[in-house]
């Protein structure tokens, strides 16, 4: 986007500020629930903790979602799906990694097939530590994310575009993944 002009820059900043305000109050998430952490989601959404009061709802498809919630343990096989989902989401998009498995492999740390550092493959905006984190923790994380968005610090999606080649390199190392032409285009277009 042509941001050379200062005025335009200003207007863009203002608009994006407004957009961030809207965005933080309406976090639609898609949760990737292959891990055991998914069991914590129903309490978050239902009457006990009621995440909807913050405008948080769960969405069925990544196209509609803003937040990708990865609920725990990832394997090589599921990572491919996570990346697919992440790439199908429409920016601005945020990733919340959930549980220790996403941080360091958790109790499966010594398995050959475990993804130990999610950070290496997609940009994670926020981690929730614990095995399991409680619903309060999740809501806490969302509130943290809202704050980050408001401050303009939740820029994982920009990072992904910026260091696309590096992420892809890391992904390819795990599975023989080839960079698709169109994603290159996406990167070029959005920078």
């Amino acid at each position: 986007m042509g941001l050379h002009n200062g005025d335009k820059m200003m207007r863009y900043e203002e608009w994006s500020k407004l957009a961030r305000k809207a965005s933080k109050k309406s976090l639609w998430m898609v949760h990737f629930c292959t891990g055991c952490g998914a069991v914590e989601m129903p309490p978050v959404m239902t009457s006990r903790y009621d995440a909807e009061r913050f405008g948080i709802t769960s969405m069925a498809t990544p196209r509609q979602a803003d937040v990708l919630l990865i609920t725990g343990y990832l394997t090589v096989k599921t990572l491919r799906r996570v990346i697919q989902v992440y790439e199908q989401m429409q920016s601005p998009k945020y990733v919340i990694a959930f549980g220790s498995c996403t941080i360091n492999g958790g109790m499966y740390w010594d398995s050959y097939n475990t993804i130990k550092h999610l950070e290496k493959y997609i940009p994670v905006d926020l981690y929730i530590a614990g095995c399991m984190p409680r619903p309060e923790g999740i809501i806490n994380a969302f509130i943290k994310l809202m704050k980050l968005i408001d401050e303009g610090k939740a820029r994982g999606w920009e990072k992904y575009q910026k260091y696309y080649d590096r992420y892809k390199e890391n992904q390819r190392r795990v599975f023989n993944f080839e960079i698709k032409e169109e994603q290159k285009e996406e990167k070029n277009e959005e920078h």
């Binding site: 498809t61 196209r63 996570v82 697919q84 989902v85 199908q88 169109e182």
Partner: protein
């Protein structure tokens, strides 16, 4: 002039029979413009104020010792405008459709001749002659399909229709001792009733009204689409032409009513129309063969015309004629589209097609427009027609027909979407498909034009049919260029269109405000599954309306075809019984001879 046109058409038919297909198409194209031009010339001689003028001019042709009376009337003028344009368009379409010349163009020219003759004939013999000529020329076109059901059902039903019409005609002839249409006035009571009823039955076969529709799905689904476009678009209208002629122009309604005054015979026609609209729509929804779907949809849409004729008020008839006009064009487009699809992919099963919209955008646009017209979306002229019929039904308080008709209209959305989604949208399954040849696209867009014109100016259509209605002694309904007004409500086309355009502005602003990126088909949400991995089938077109099918099918199961098959089997049994008479032993035959002799002697001497 007419005999020259007839002669030229016959000569052209003979020539096109022998030349190569491209040349044949060109000759056929120009020759098929001829009748239309003749009519226009005629119209211009009377000034184009033909709209306000009833023309009646006679022309005689001698054939096999019989005089044929031909003339152009307001009614035939209107129907000619509806049907005759289809021919050049179909010829244009067929320019690149056929790989070899196997008589298509010649037969189409003969059909054209017959159609022209039907529209112009002013006595019942010539009407019947041309009617049958059309029957056999179209039968020969059906014959090219080489499909057993199509050939048999078309011929049998055609002949049934012919006999019914013939029956009516000879009764009228016997009662009036004249074959001229203008003489059918002083007839009433039972013979008149039987005559008109059997004529209507005969025309109903070609007009595909429900119990007599059984041939249509076979024929429509097995023949060349370029021919079926004429069959569905033009030929069915000729059935309604006949109905209009005998019911309204010649006051057949009064003849019917004079027999039994306490029964509304019209209502019966309307009920049959409504039932065919309703059931055909339901059946169409469940079809998988594109051409069969279109066939049933044709039956359904033609049902509306029957309803209009059945209701019989000027309002309803205006609607019916309008619907007939629209149907001629949008169904021709749809069948030609099916032809293009088959031409490019060689497939008709909707579940095997998909994703053609981006490959052939112009075809898609034409088809989309035709489907809008079919579904009576108010941005095409299809709406005004159905609206008029609905109004008429409400005006007459036909509480049985109106809801059935309306729900059939809703059902039209379902099969419309089936075509759109199954054929044009969804998964892209054909990599090597190109846009259709230019001649085909041109043909489609020529057909789209009237639908576009008459949505903006529905009043013009009403002007066009006004002379025909006046000739039948009916008042045209109140209208301006843009608006039609009935006693119940008003429909203003321009208000709808302008508001739609204005309402497009916010939508367009939203559309333009944010950039979008066009992604490939493979980039689709599959619960995270990358498409390249398994390449799953992405087309949900197989058994599309399965839940509906589960509910509805048990009620549709013993269809009309079933009963016709029963009749067929009954004749089979009779045939087997009769064949038993021929035992094959000459001594039995000798006994027959002796018995016959005794029988005759007995009859003559003692009885």
């Amino acid at each position: 002039m007419l005999d020259i046109i007839f002669a030229e058409l016959i000569v052209a038919a003979i020539i096109t029979f022998f030349v190569r297909e491209k040349l044949a198409a060109i000759i056929a194209f120009f020759m098929s413009l001829l009748p239309l031009l003749a009519l226009l010339d005629w119209a211009s001689n009377y000034g184009f104020a033909i709209i306000n003028l009833g023309i009646e001019s006679h022309m005689k042709i001698y054939l096999a010792g019989v005089t044929l009376h031909l003339a152009i009337t307001p009614l035939s003028w209107f129907f000619a405008l509806m049907i005759l344009p289809l021919f050049p368009v179909i010829m244009l379409f067929s320019y690149s459709f056929f790989k070899e010349n196997d008589g298509f163009f010649a037969l189409m020219l003969l059909s054209l001749l017959a159609t022209f003759g039907i529209l112009l004939s002013r006595d019942m013999l010539s009407l019947f002659l041309f009617w049958e000529m059309m029957s056999w020329s179209s039968f020969l076109l059906v014959y090219r399909s080489k499909d057993r059901n199509a050939i048999m059902s078309y011929l049998i039903f055609s002949v049934f229709a012919a006999f019914a019409i013939l029956f009516g005609i000879i009764i009228l002839w016997h009662e009036n001792s004249s074959l001229l249409l203008s003489d059918i006035l002083n007839i009433s009571g039972k013979p008149g009733f039987i005559a008109i009823a059997s004529l209507i039955t005969g025309f109903a076969v070609k007009a595909v009204i429900m119990p007599l529709h059984a041939w249509a799905p076979f024929v429509y689904s097995k023949c060349d689409e370029s021919f079926v476009a004429f069959l569905a678009g033009g030929l069915s209208k000729l059935g309604y032409y006949g109905m209009f002629l005998f019911l309204f122009s010649l006051k057949g309604v009064d003849i019917l009513q004079s027999y039994m005054t306490n029964v509304s015979w019209n209502y019966l026609l309307a009920v049959f129309g409504a039932l065919s609209a309703f059931f055909a729509t339901l059946i169409a929804i469940l079809q998988d063969d594109l051409r069969k779907l279109l066939a049933y949809s044709s039956i359904g849409q033609l049902g509306y015309i029957a309803i209009g004729f059945g209701i019989g008020t000027p309002l309803a008839i205006t609607g019916a004629l309008f619907q007939a006009f629209n149907h001629a064009f949008f169904k021709a487009i749809l069948f030609l589209t099916a032809g293009i699809v088959a031409y490019r992919t060689g497939k008709w099963k909707i579940s095997e097609l998909g994703g053609l919209a981006y490959k052939m955008p112009f075809t898609f646009m034409a088809a989309l427009f035709a489907i809008f017209a079919l579904a009576a979306i108010p941005i095409t002229s299809g709406f005004a027609a159905k609206w008029l019929i609905y109004e008429a039904a409400i005006q007459q308080k036909y509480v049985f027909i109106a809801p059935i008709m309306l729900i059939a209209g809703v059902g039209a959305f379902l099969y419309s979407f089936r075509i759109l989604y199954g054929v044009f949208l969804g998964e892209n399954r054909h990599d090597n498909v190109e846009e259709a040849p230019k001649s085909m696209i041109a043909a489609l867009f020529i057909l789209v034009m009237p639908l576009m014109i008459f949505v903006v100016f529905p009043g013009y259509m009403l002007d066009l049919m006004k002379p025909a209605l006046q000739a039948a002694g009916m008042e045209s309904i109140a209208h301006t260029k843009f608006a039609i007004e009935t006693s119940l409500a008003k429909y203003n086309s321009i208000a709808v269109l302008i508001t739609l355009m204005v309402a497009m502005i916010p939508a367009f602003i939203i559309y333009k405000a944010r950039k979008h990126r066009v992604t490939s088909f493979e980039d689709n949400y599959l619960a995270g599954e990358p498409y390249e991995l398994h390449k799953p089938s992405m087309h949900a077109a197989n058994n599309f309306y399965k839940p509906l099918k589960k509910v509805v099918l048990p009620y549709l199961e013993p269809g009309a075809t079933h009963y016709f098959e029963k009749i067929y089997n009954g004749i089979k049994c009779a045939s087997n019984a009769v064949r038993r008479v021929y035992t094959g032993y000459v001594q039995d035959y000798a006994i027959y001879v002796v018995l016959f002799l005794l029988f005759i002697v007995g009859w003559l001497i003692w009885i």
